[in-house]
Symmetry: C2
DNA sequence: TAGATTGTTAATCGATTAACAATC
DNA sequence: TAGATTGTTAATCGATTAACAATC
C-alpha cells in the first residue's frame, strides 16, 4: 500500500472507479467483486485489484469489496468532499459555464469568486456571483485562503495569471487556456486542452472511415 | 509508416505536436530537429522521431523537419481543417459555451445547429444561433449531413441522445455528460469527463502536501 | 469446513529509450 | 566531403495480465 509512487495510469483510473461505484451505490448494490467490476468496466480484474491495493487493502477475501466503503476510500484518495476553495479567472464562455455548474460545489470544490478585466463584464452578476475586477485579485487572495485557481483567460494571458495566482498562495491550477501552463515544484497543474479531445475524435473518425473503405 | 495500428499513447501526443508546431510557425521558425523538439517539449527525441514515423517520413537526414510542412501533415492526420459539421444537443452552460467558442469553426469544425428541450430555451438566440426544439432534430439531420454530435445534456439523457444521433447518421460523438456513452463499432466516441481532471488535480495537491510534510 | 475472492508474486506484453547505420 | 540528423533496430523499462497461495 502506497508504494513510493503511484503511476499516472493508475491515478487516471481512479475517477472512473469513483463514477462506477457511485452508480452501483445509487442502484443499491452493497458488495462487488473485482470480476464483476471487470465485466462492467472493461478492465482486467487483476488490474483492478492491483490498482486498489496501491492505496490499501480495501477488500476481503471470499467477499469482495463493500461498495460504499470503497467509494468513500476513493473519494478520500482523490480529495472529493475535502472542501477546497477556488477562484475563476476569466469570465468568458468557459469561466461562466464553470461558475454555473453547481455540481462542483456539491463535491467540495467551492468557487468563491470570479474575476475579469473587461470593464463591460466587471460588476455583472453571473450565477450568484458579482464579477470582480482583476485588480481586486491580490487583495482578495490576501484576505481569503484560496486553494485552486481556475484559468479561463485567453491563451496569451494564461501563464502570467498562473504566476500571479501561485505567487499569492494558490497551490493548484486548473487551466482551460490552450497552452501548457507551468509552475514550480510543489504546485499542481492540470491543463485541460478541450480541443485536443476534439482533434482525437476527428482522427478516430477518419480512421474508422479508412477501415470501412478497405 | 502507418503500421497496422497506432497506439493510443501516440495519438494523444499528436495534438501536443500540433500546438507546439503552431507556436514555432507563429514565431517564424522554419526548421526543427527532434532534439530541439525534445528539449522544448520534454519528450525523448527517439520517441518523437518514432511517433512521427508512424505516419510517414516527414524529416530529412541532416536537416530535420520543416515546421510548416510537418504542421500541415499533423493537421491532415488529425483532420484539422477537413471541414466537419456538428450539432450541439443541450443548450445549458456547456452547450452554450461551446457554441460561443469561435475557434472550432476556424479549424473546420462547424457548428450548424443547437437543440434543447426546455421550452424556456427554445427560440432564444445564442451566438448567432436560434436554439431549436429537440423534436426538430430528426428532420434536421435528414436534411443536413452532420458528422459530429456534441452531447451536452444531463447525464440521464446522454446515452439516449447518443443512440438517436447515431441512428440518424452521425458518426462521431463528443460527450460532455459525466457518463461513458457507448456506440456500435464504426462510430467514434470521445467522453470528456471534465470533473475527472479536477479530481486528479485535487489528488495531486494532496500528494504534494503530503510530500512537503515529510 | 468448502467456496469464493482477495492480495501479491511471477510472466507477458507493449511502450519508451538507446544506439547506430543510412543518407541528406 | 564532413557533419548533422533522420529512420529503424535492439535493449530497457514499466505496465498489464496470469497464476496462485493466503484467508475470510
Amino acid at each position: 500500500m502506497q508504494d513510493s509512487r503511484i503511476s499516472d495510469a493508475v491515478v487516471h483510473r481512479l475517477p472512473r472507479y469513483y463514477r462506477y461505484l457511485s452508480e452501483l451505490e445509487a442502484a443499491g448494490v452493497e458488495r462487488v467483486s473485482s470480476s464483476r467490476m471487470s465485466e462492467d468496466m472493461n478492465l482486467n480484474a487483476s488490474q483492478i485489484r492491483r490498482d486498489l491495493n496501491c492505496f490499501g487493502g480495501f477488500g476481503q477475501q471470499g467477499y469482495g469489496y463493500q461498495v460504499s466503503r470503497l467509494k468513500q476510500e476513493i473519494m478520500k484518495i482523490l480529495g472529493i468532499g475535502a472542501s477546497y476553495k477556488a477562484v475563476i479567472v476569466g469570465a468568458g464562455n468557459i469561466g461562466q459555464a464553470l461558475l454555473r455548474y453547481r455540481h462542483f460545489g456539491d463535491e467540495g470544490y467551492h468557487i468563491v469568486a470570479i474575476f475579469d478585466n473587461d470593464p463591460e463584464m466587471i460588476g455583472r452578476e453571473v450565477g450568484n456571483h458579482r464579477i470582480r475586477a482583476m485588480s481586486e485579485l491580490p487583495q482578495f487572495l490576501k484576505e481569503n485562503k484560496v486553494d485552486i485557481g481556475i484559468i479561463a483567460v485567453p491563451k496569451r494571458y494564461a501563464q502570467q495569471v498562473a504566476d500571479d495566482l501561485v505567487s499569492m498562495g494558490v497551490t493548484g491550477l486548473w487551466n482551460f487556456a490552450p497552452v501548457d501552463v507551468e509552475a514550480r515544484r510543489g504546485i499542481s497543474v492540470v491543463n485541460v486542452h478541450l480541443s485536443d479531445s476534439l482533434y482525437i475524435l476527428s482522427y478516430r473518425m477518419r480512421e474508422n472511415r479508412k477501415n470501412e473503405n478497405n
